[in-house]
């Protein structure tokens, strides 16, 4: 990116594109497919991903040589905010686009980049993340899935869990133990594995919302090519952490746009049923409003240097937003009252029920509340590790 692009003009460009393309057969996807709503129209949402790819909206931050646009962080933030403002559907390609692709660009070979980036860029190949296991959740380094080389291929044995969108994906990236007898962060390898093969079984996990957005993925002699190892064998932990480092929160402002929409629905519901006159509800809605305003200021502080710095405000952010969102879900149900008991097709009620139930997972995935507090205490405050 050599010339400086005006942010206002860029935002207008995004908004105009969304207005002309999120129409017709895609109109039903507006405001759908977010967390808690992932099962809605997956085939059509993949077509939408291809529509976005054709419009040049995938790989905004990738280097131009890799098919990206090399936009600065500020414009990527702006894109996600405008996308959400326009009611853009929940993304299906984000795991490939925002996690695997930057990892391939940083650590992959030219051949691996040429093999995998175009499918991600075009919205034709979908990815899921194989990190967590039944015995390796917060303690991620306790990975037990094994991998070994045999007949010029990699083979895998073991189980991954909480694998979002595995049932809609073509590939999974897996961290598995390649050095027998190794423990912890040593002896792990990072492999790209095709899902459509006899050695892989995907079983959906029904979650408390009744939906099944994540899965168990079983590897029973599953295979992948020798050229599907990222980095060196035994260096998988570093690759895995590099990948997590790309979770830079560029979609943060887009997420906050969804939060603002949800809060507006709470306000609407409170005004419709009279809860808006109840003093306690008024105080809690005010609290939610100032809390969201604070989250936005926090996000802007995070990116005020142009890139997300790992400052105090960044360390606390996941804990702050997930707990805010969980409280909003509770508030929504207290506004709805007994009407919240009934599974509803009515848009406002359905969305608020999703917020309430799905936000229970916000404080668990991507580092539980308890792990977040450990990270804040150790990295933010310099307190010692617990022995």
């Amino acid at each position: 990116m050599t010339q400086v692009m005006d942010e206002g003009a860029f935002r207008a460009e995004v908004a105009a594109w969304m207005q002309t393309h999120l129409t017709g057969r895609f109109a039903e996807l507006r405001d759908r497919g977010g967390p808690g709503d992932e099962s809605i129209s997956p085939a059509l949402r993949k077509e939408w991903e291809q529509e976005m790819a054709a419009g040049g909206w995938v790989g905004l931050g990738w280097p131009e040589a890799q098919g990206g646009r090399a936009l600065p962080v500020s414009l990527q933030l702006a894109f996600h905010e405008e996308y959400a403002r326009a009611g853009g559907p929940g993304r299906m390609g984000h795991i490939g686009e925002t996690l695997l692709a930057p990892t391939l660009i940083a650590l992959g070979t030219p051949e691996q980049q040429a093999r995998f980036l175009p499918g991600i860029r075009a919205g034709t190949e979908y990815w899921c993340q194989g990190y967590s296991e039944p015995g390796a959740g917060s303690d991620l380094a306790a990975i037990a899935t094994r991998c070994w080389q045999e007949d010029g291929k990699w083979k895998l044995q073991g189980q991954k869990v909480w694998t979002s969108l595995a049932h809609e994906s073509d590939w999974i990236f897996v961290v598995a133990r390649s050095v027998p007898g190794s423990t912890g962060r040593e002896g792990l390898s990072f492999l790209l594995v095709p899902l459509d093969q006899p050695g892989v079984e995907i079983r959906p996990i029904r979650q408390l919302t009744g939906e099944a957005e994540f899965n168990e993925v079983f590897f029973d002699g599953a295979e992948t090519g020798a050229d599907c190892l990222i980095g060196q064998a035994g260096d998988g932990w570093r690759v895995a952490m590099t990948l997590l480092g790309f979770e830079r929160g560029l979609s943060t402002l887009g997420q906050q746009m969804h939060f603002a929409h949800e809060l507006a629905l709470v306000v609407e519901a409170a005004q419709a049923n009279g809860a808006a006159r109840v003093p306690e509800i008024r105080q809690r809605i005010a609290d939610a409003w100032v809390g969201l305003r604070g989250l936005r200021a926090n996000a802007l502080r995070m990116f005020s240097g142009g890139e997300a710095a790992i400052g105090a405000e960044s360390l606390v952010y996941k804990y702050a937003w997930s707990n805010w969102h969980r409280r909003l879900g509770q508030l929504a149900m207290d506004v709805l009252g007994v009407a919240g008991d009934v599974q509803s097709d009515e848009d406002t009620v359905r969305r608020l029920q999703q917020v309430f139930f799905f936000s229970r997972s916000d404080t668990i995935y991507a580092g539980t509340n308890e792990i977040q507090l450990n990270i804040i205490a150790e990295r933010g405050l310099g307190l010692p590790r617990t022995r």
Binding site: E7, G8, R11, S74, L77, A78, E81, V267, A270, Q271, A276, R277, P279, R282, Q283, I285, A286, D287, W289, V290, G291, R293, G294, L295, R296, A297, N298, L300, R301, F303, S304, G305, A312, E313, L315, V316, Y319, A320, E370, Q372, L373, N374, I376, A377, E378, G380, L381, G382, L383, P384, R385, T386, R387
Partner: protein, 384 residues
């Protein structure tokens, strides 16, 4: 708020602000006076005046530095760390703030240089606790005496710095319910001041009885605007002071965390520093979460302290900062006591000072319920 250009306003402090912070931090640490007798307070204030701390928001034509509230917030935060007992809050934040936002040009020219140069100190009197609820709720009534002068009647239970300020700006209600501002020297006949024993020794207070206090015509100092505009300006005065109080609360909260971290790293039980226990670490981490929430809220609010920001926006900004700061300070002061264990309950250790300040700060300039009400009215409409 749709443009990321606003990022600039939230960036780290400027070089000047960092220098101000460093100077203030060192000076206030050296001149800690919260446990000392108050005889030395005004001499110490003169030193602070020499550092320019009384001149920050005063316009240059009135011998000030002409800086803004973002700069004053830097000082307020440092005062919050040490809880230094000084005229800063009453004389600079409250009285200067009132003169600048709502004072007449003549009053500004007459009094701002004195306050900026430290030749006088002042305070602000409105509703008790400076809880602004419009002119109707003001406890002091003013009536014209016929010779152009004014007569003030009423009692204000608690006036900040009430026993030591040289004069007060008194927001009073006129007979027709409009507000007006009067300059009232502390030695005016008919004025009875009674110092109060307070828990927070850094916030001295006195009761003021206006028993037929007669004032000359020129003691009326509000800017010549219609009464609705004056009421709005007075609302701004209170909101700006609330923002500065939030900054002070953040400094206090941060200090509570700092001393707690130092203590839990040093204190050993069960053969190890208690900082290694997760129950302790998580409390400290939650203190940091609350402080960063308040910092973010204040950073997002300060741009609305600008003179050209709408009053309604300033009110919502002040509400956001105050609510987050009150929660942070209450939580951090309480946790500081708890995590210090037995010594946290003693006079000697600092947590008690911040705990008492958090109690003071929770109620002056509008409590959390008041500020939530401001937001609720804006978001939900006024409840019928």
């Amino acid at each position: 708020m749709t443009n990321l250009a606003e990022l600039k306003g939230l960036a780290e402090p400027s070089e000047e602000q960092r220098a101000l912070r460093d100077t203030a931090s060192a000076f206030l640490a050296e001149h800690d006076n919260i446990r000392a007798a108050d005889e030395g307070d005004l001499a110490l204030w003169q030193k602070m005046v020499e550092l320019g701390w009384a001149a920050v928001i005063v316009p240059e034509q009135h011998d000030g530095l002409g800086l803004g509230y973002a700069d004053l917030a830097v000082l307020a935060e440092e005062f919050g760390r040490t809880l230094n007992r000084s005229p800063f809050f009453a004389s600079v934040v409250l009285a200067q703030g009132c003169l600048i936002e709502a004072g007449s040009a003549a009053a500004q020219a007459r009094w701002l240089p004195d306050l900026a140069m430290g030749t006088a100190t002042a305070t602000l009197i409105g509703a008790n606790g400076l809880h602004w609820q419009g002119a109707d709720a003001l406890p002091v009534a003013a009536t014209a005496t016929g010779d152009g002068g004014w007569r003030l009647q009423g009692r204000v239970a608690q006036v900040l710095d009430g026993a030591r300020a040289d004069f007060a700006l008194v927001i009073a209600r006129l007979g027709d319910g409009r507000p007006a501002i009067f300059h009232v020297p502390a030695d005016t006949p008919g004025l009875i001041r009674q110092a109060l024993p307070v828990w927070d020794l850094g916030r001295p207070q006195a009761a003021w009885d206006f028993d037929g206090v007669c004032l000359p015509a020129e003691s009326r100092v509000d800017v010549e605007v219609d009464s609705a505009t004056l009421a709005e300006r007075l609302q701004r005065v209170h909101a700006l002071a609330a923002l500065m109080l939030a900054a002070e609360q953040i400094g206090s909260s941060a200090h509570c965390l700092d001393i707690t971290l130092a203590y839990v790293k040093e204190r050993r039980q069960f053969g190890r520093p208690i900082a290694e226990f997760q129950a302790v670490k998580h409390r400290c981490a939650e203190m940091m979460v609350s402080i960063e929430a308040a910092r973010s809220a204040l950073a997002g609010a300060l741009p609305f302290a600008a003179a050209d920001a709408a009053t309604a926006d300033l009110m919502l900004a002040a509400a956001s900062a105050r609510i987050a700061a009150c929660e942070a300070q209450r939580f951090c002061a309480q946790e500081a006591i708890q995590l210090h264990g037995g010594v946290g309950f003693t006079w000697e250790y600092d947590p008690q000072l911040h705990f008492k300040r958090s109690q003071w700060a929770a109620h002056w300039l509008g409590d959390v319920a008041y500020w939530r009400g401001v937001v609720a009215d804006a978001v939900l409409g006024v409840a019928k």
